[in-house]
Assembly symmetry: C2
Homo-oligomer: 214 residues x 2
DNA sequence: CGGTTTCGATACGGCACTGTATCCAGTACA
DNA sequence: TGTACTGGATACAGTGCCGTATCGAAACCG
């Protein structure tokens, strides 16, 4: 993905980002198809002129947004790994599965809109090969990252698992996604979301860990 | 929810169903918002006149469709339970987790469009309380049904689980949904879908079952 | 069989959104 | 500080879709 040709000019970059931010909100709220270009622009404080000067179409913009979201999510996990390794936190990580999970989750504390946006991306990925590619790529990265964390913790605490780290990671991500959806659907606020999600993830973690906890 | 006032007339019922069937296809293919009432009608072999004579709006129709799909899914599981109990099949169920799961799954052999439709319903349920209610109700029923099957199998084969049947059921459904999505997204055909899904489910089953298999 | 009712087709007005073409202002650079 | 250019606003024509109102024909019933 290279630069177009010339420097994208600082100003242009800013409006692009503001448009993308607004789009993330609007797409999450009403969905890609129901969202009009106009609504996105209003939210960003621009008119459609600015939009078509920066993006070829709503769909093209959505593709870029999806990539951006994916990159950001992966980045958060990567950063978390680095941070944990840097401060050697794995030794001090609590024994309790629930507390353990909560510590990891808290970083990627996703809100209602975030969940909606990811689901919006997902369903469109089910219909568009281009989006699907981006989506599965992100998922692979996420799984690798989570697997890394899992392995680190396991090594530090002498835990063994009943399944390979990669599969464990897949299960955790699956549970995380599922729990988020349930939380949002039952109208939970952010605190409840975190609570419900981490509880559910802890249950999976207990299932994965080889030795029954104390 | 009672009858409107008079008998809905055989003819009317038929066109309603044809419209609903067409809608299920179209909604699955392009999504609720992108689907025009006209497209649905064309697919069903009617004009918009027929539609507005039968439904107040596209959204109202979607709500009804969602309920119908939910009822049908639950019905399939219920029927499966009845069938298994009738023929006392639990004794003859294979020991291998994978074969076991495959036997159960094969009934609800869902295709690409089915997965798309369920995801479409789900994401709209995330935004509409009415749909959310229907969705979680269906999920509760499904979980209960699957839990029933799990308990029956466990009793028949003297297996114990590391988690309560209800939680095990939730995990299985979660894995099932997740695997279906992955299969569709990677462009798998129906056979591959079944294969991938049952493999994944078997992995979860192995994780849930108390004693490591033979 | 003839009247009545029901149901779906056809016709119409209207709206929201799209994409482009043109215009104006702020910015950079000499 | 003047000039060239970039970026966003405004204006416009076109399109698709919606929901209703009206009409014709098939089913229903005495």
């Amino acid at each position: 993905m290279g630069d177009e040709s010339t420097t994208p000019s600082r100003r242009r970059e800013i409006t692009r980002n503001r448009l993308l931010d607004a789009a993330a909100q609007v797409f999450a709220e009403v969905g890609l198809d129901a969202a009009s270009v106009e609504t996105v622009c209003e939210r960003a404080g621009f008119t459609r002129g600015a939009f078509y000067s920066n993006f070829a179409s709503k769909e093209e913009m959505f593709l870029e947004l999806a990539g951006r979201v994916a990159a950001e999510r992966v980045g958060v996990v990567k950063a978390r790994i680095a941070e944990l390794e840097r401060q050697g936190a794995f030794q001090t990580v609590p024994t309790d599965a629930l507390a353990m999970v909560e510590q990891i989750i808290d970083i990627s504390n996703e809100d209602r809109l975030g969940v909606l946006l990811m689901n919006e991306i997902r369903i469109h990925a089910l219909r568009s090969p281009a989006l699907a590619a981006a989506y599965v790529a992100q998922e692979v990265q996420m799984r690798a990252g989570v697997a890394q964390i899992i392995e680190d913790i396991a090594a530090a605490k002498g835990i063994t698992f009943r399944v390979p780290a990669d599969e464990a990671a897949a299960l955790m991500l699956m549970a995380w996604e599922s729990a988020s959806v349930h939380a949002v659907m039952s109208g939970a606020d952010k605190a409840q979301m975190t609570s419900l999600t981490s509880e559910r993830l802890a249950a999976v973690a207990r299932l994965i860990i080889d030795s029954p906890q104390s």
